[in-house]
């Protein structure tokens, strides 16, 4: 079956309905199949660019990370997927543990991507950095009052902080990072207090937290920085207006540094196009792609030698927590349990 057929699932259905069972799928050599937890709008332009330059067609399915991981596991050695892209380190760690990834050897990737942002054995590589930051109301909070995530649990912040649900992966990673660096007891104590700082029951997405700060429902919010970037750039007046009323603060600059997570990719164990897959990951880590992440989605490049966009520069430099991404995956379950115990909805 040719590439043309694969891109037309309707034909497939028609064939099968007529009981002409679609025979063995011989995958064309010049394609690469991608399972992506990164949404289409935030990856497709890069993939199209890749196809244009290399002539390698990219087939894409997007879904949630864990669902894709389950699909990969069940499809086993016959899985058509060559590359798994996720939006957090925890899922890459899980995929590696589940045995659905294979190590790739790329001098370029090993040299370009800092060691703590990739798996030591080459199972996966970080491609962009996402920082969990504070935004505060400019008229009610002075940056000097802010310091670390830990301090946000203090009595002066009672009922003043907005943050989304603990089902959100970036909150889980934040707590997982603390468990890895501070230990279980300290983290639990912090969580128990931090829940008291919530201005309202956790709800909505990160942009909603920014809007709540702008509207005065809370004074500080914990969000991923790229959401603020998207709001600053938004064509929607309400979003733009809300973003203008708040400012960004880099937490933990006197400590380990701001908590970060990555989006990243690995080559699957079942991959039939290993060299194309590796080439794709290398493509996603090259200069232009790294700049694209910063310019289009306001994420930070994973490579230190690539300058972020103008807007990101305006937020200033920051010290990022050097914790190995693997730790976020290891402690994810424990983090969710700790948040359950603290009553963080």
């Amino acid at each position: 079956m040719t590439t043309a057929h694969r891109s037309s699932p309707w034909l497939m259905l028609a064939y099968a309905t007529l009981l002409c069972t679609a025979g063995p799928l011989a995958y064309s050599a010049t394609e690469v199949n991608v399972y992506s937890a990164r949404k289409e709008a935030l990856i497709k332009p890069l993939l199209d660019q890749f196809t244009q330059e290399t002539g390698i067609a990219v087939n894409l399915v997007t879904a949630k990370g864990d669902a894709l991981l389950t699909r990969l596991q069940r499809e086993g050695r016959n899985s058509p997927a060559d590359v798994l892209i996720t939006t957090d380190a925890g899922r890459l760690y899980r995929a590696q543990e589940a045995g659905v990834l294979q190590p790739v050897f790329s001098e370029f990737l090993d040299a370009a991507i800092p060691a703590h942002l990739r798996s030591a054995e080459g199972y996966w590589y970080g491609l962009s950095v996402r920082a969990r930051v504070f935004v505060y109301a400019k008229d009610r909070v002075k940056p000097a009052q802010l310091s670390s995530y830990q301090a946000l649990a203090g009595p002066q912040w009672q009922h003043r902080v907005c943050i989304r649900s603990s089902s959100n992966i970036y909150n889980q990673s934040l707590v997982a990072g603390m468990l890895a660096t501070q230990g279980a007891d300290k983290t639990q104590a912090w969580l128990d207090d931090f829940v008291g700082s919530f201005a309202r029951p956790p709800q909505g997405g990160d942009r909603d937290q920014v809007k709540a700060v702008a509207a005065g429902q809370c004074d500080v919010a914990v969000i991923n920085s790229y959401y603020l970037g998207a709001m600053v750039d938004s064509t929607d007046d309400a979003e733009h207006g809300a973003a203008a009323k708040v400012a960004l603060f880099w937490p933990n600059q006197d400590g380990r540094g701001t908590h970060i997570n990555i989006s990243g990719a690995g080559v699957t164990a079942a991959a039939t196009h290993v060299s194309e897959a590796t080439r794709l990951i290398e493509f996603l880590a090259r200069d232009e792609s790294q700049q694209w992440y910063a310019q289009i989605n306001m994420e930070y490049p994973v490579r230190v030698d690539i300058a972020p966009s103008e807007l990101l520069k305006s937020w200033g430099d920051f010290k990022a927590d050097p914790l190995a991404m693997t730790e976020l995956g290891k402690f994810n379950t424990a983090a969710v349990m700790a948040m359950d115990r603290a009553g963080w909805k």
Binding site: R6, G65, T70, R71, G76, N78, P80, P202, N332, D340
Partner: protein, 557 residues
């Protein structure tokens, strides 16, 4: 039955059990998790969040049950028994909210009513109120979720109950009136009890859908059993415990349905079909105004307001989203929904009629289990489909490799066949309940007469039931069509490469909090969903096929 050769009886029965068994496989795959050991996570869940999950889900269920019952039955009663200004429009307009996915209405109302939304902001500016100076209902709450789900799910009740009211013989209702009962007494003592199978079918669809809902409750930050399932899977990374949680949800729904059926086990609902359309009570003066206001406010809040909000958003930057790729999405969604609707209808007809031919405990149980997928969250159904399909593909492939040294790869996994099968598992209940409640009203005497005249079971179905069921069949098609159109989680995980639908597109943009971009595909879902609603309207608008039914009955006498 005696006149049927034994072979025929056997084959219908065997085919019924086999067919139902096949569709039940994903449900059994999930239920099989109960045979596995219960992990430590259970202790943690019981100690911390389990109580919240159960209590919130129960409240949600009761709330949506009452909400859909009140809106659906009152709407059906007013439009089928009374005449007031605009009644003919409300006949179909009351169906419109069905086309709006629950999570979409949740997004639009949040946009309007949230603390940072235009309404509250204007109030604060106008009256110089600050935070906490005033009370305003919290949209992102359990109550908000109940309201949102009731607004989009009541059409299930409305549609089925209305057909039941229309088909109730005027003789019965007029007898009630002539015996001195008021219209209200007639409603509560005669019409409602007679319509009970339809009410039960409609409300149980709404309840199952609300128990399976993830998008709305997740967005509102309400912890329910469903959000718990996903938290356990995604957050705790424990798919087995998540499957066990899903199994308990299934068993609970199974119990509820069983109780409802048991409570009306001795009742019979078939009666002489109406010889004449029921005569409507013409309302005037303040009564007419009140009816109009009531019906209008339902349509306004459940459809007009959210649709207007979507339109406003969609207009903000439609140029960026309205392109060739958009039409591919439209085609994909439309065809997928149409194929799935037909498949579900055929399966429902087959199962419902087979059960009528051979009522028995095994047959009943097999059909019940096969339609349980509706109570499962879509992603869980997807996992239940993924496991057996991948197993089949890989086993076949391994055998071919060993025996013939050829590889078949994945034949079915990752194709639209797997996806359509998943829709069948998930939405069979919808078509089945509709077809069954239609079949219930056809007197068995008709079957018997036809059979004694020498018709085979298959020709009874083809020549008598299908024409008589015309209305129910269309309803079943419409309901599944709209459901598949809106369906997200199953589509997301099972779809083939490079294949997107309107719902997938809407979700990807909305979950990235890009509501203005998400509005165009969302609006398209609503508009395509309207097509079959309009088609239905023409059927339920004119009196439902009474002539055909009467002709059929006369032909048999």
């Amino acid at each position: 039955m005696e006149i049927t050769p034994r072979g025929t009886v056997f084959s219908w029965r065997a085919a019924l059990v086999l067919g139902a068994g096949l569709i039940s496989i994903p449900v059994w795959v999930i239920l099989a998790s109960l045979t596995q050991p219960f992990g430590d996570i259970w202790q943690h869940l019981l100690d911390t969040v389990f109580r919240d999950y159960v209590v919130n889900s129960l409240i949600l269920m009761v709330g949506v049950g009452v909400g859909t019952l009140v809106l659906g039955v009152s709407g059906a009663w007013l439009t089928s028994m009374c005449d007031f200004p605009g009644r003919k429009i409300f006949d179909w307009a009351l169906l419109l909210p069905m086309a709006i996915p629950a999570y979409i209405i949740a997004y639009t109302y949040t946009g309007l009513l949230d603390f940072t939304g235009p309404l509250q902001s204007t109030l604060r500016e106008t009256f110089a109120w600050g935070v906490g100076d005033y009370w305003f209902p919290q949209i992102r709450s359990l109550g908000g979720a109940i309201t949102m789900l009731s607004l989009v799910l009541y059409p299930y009740v409305y549609l089925l109950v209305r057909v039941a009211f229309m088909e109730q013989s005027t003789a019965v209702l007029e007898a009630s009136r002539s015996l001195g009962k008021s219209p209200w007494q007639t409603l509560f003592q005669v019409a409602l009890p007679l319509a009970r199978p339809a009410i039960a079918a409609g409300v149980s669809l709404a309840l199952m859908e609300s128990l399976a809902d993830y998008g709305t409750v997740d967005y509102f930050g309400v912890s329910t059993f469903t959000t718990g399932i996903f938290r356990t899977w995604y957050g705790l990374g424990d798919l087995r415990t998540a499957a066990q949680l899903s199994s308990f949800l299934l068993l609970f729904v199974f119990l509820l349905i069983g109780l409802e059926r048991w409570s009306r086990r001795r009742m019979r609902y078939h009666h002489h079909a109406a010889q004449n359309p029921p005569s409507r009570i013409t309302l005037t003066g303040w009564r007419a105004a009140a009816c109009f206001a009531f019906a209008f406010s339902i349509v306004f809040f459940a459809f007009l307001l959210p649709a207007a909000q979507l339109l406003l958003w969609a207009l903000q930057n439609w140029q960026a989203n309205f392109n060739a790729a958009f039409f591919t999405l439209v085609t994909n969604s439309f065809l997928l929904a149409a194929v799935a609707a037909v498949v579900c209808l055929l399966a429902a007809l087959f199962l419902a009629y087979g059960k009528r031919l051979h009522p028995g405990k095994i047959e009943e149980a097999a059909v019940r289990v096969s339609s349980m997928g509706y109570a499962l969250p879509g992603t869980v159904v997807a996992v239940g489909v993924l496991i057996p399909f991948a197993w089949f593909d890989n086993t076949l492939d391994a055998w071919l490799r060993d025996s013939f040294d050829v590889s078949s790869g994945l034949l079915l996994s990752g194709t639209l066949i797997a996806l359509v099968f998943a829709y069948l598992v998930r939405f069979l209940s919808v078509s089945l309940q509709t077809v069954e409640s239609g079949l219930l009203k056809i007197r068995p005497a008709i079957d018997e007469s036809a059979r004694s005249l020498g018709l085979t079971p298959a020709s009874v179905l083809g020549k008598i039931h299908i024409p008589m069921l015309h209305g129910s069949l269309l309803t079943a098609l419409l309901l599944v069509f709209v459901d598949v159109l809106k369906e997200l989680p199953t589509t997301l995980i099972l779809r083939p490469f490079n294949f997107n639908t309107l719902a997938v597109r809407t979700y990807e943009l909305a979950s990235d909090e890009r509501l203005a971009d998400a509005a165009l595909p969302a609006l398209a879902i609503v508009l395509i969903g309207l097509l079959p609603v309009i088609l239905m309207t023409r059927t339920i608008g004119r009196e439902p096929l009474m002539d055909e039914i009467r002709d059929n009955e006369l032909a048999l006498q």
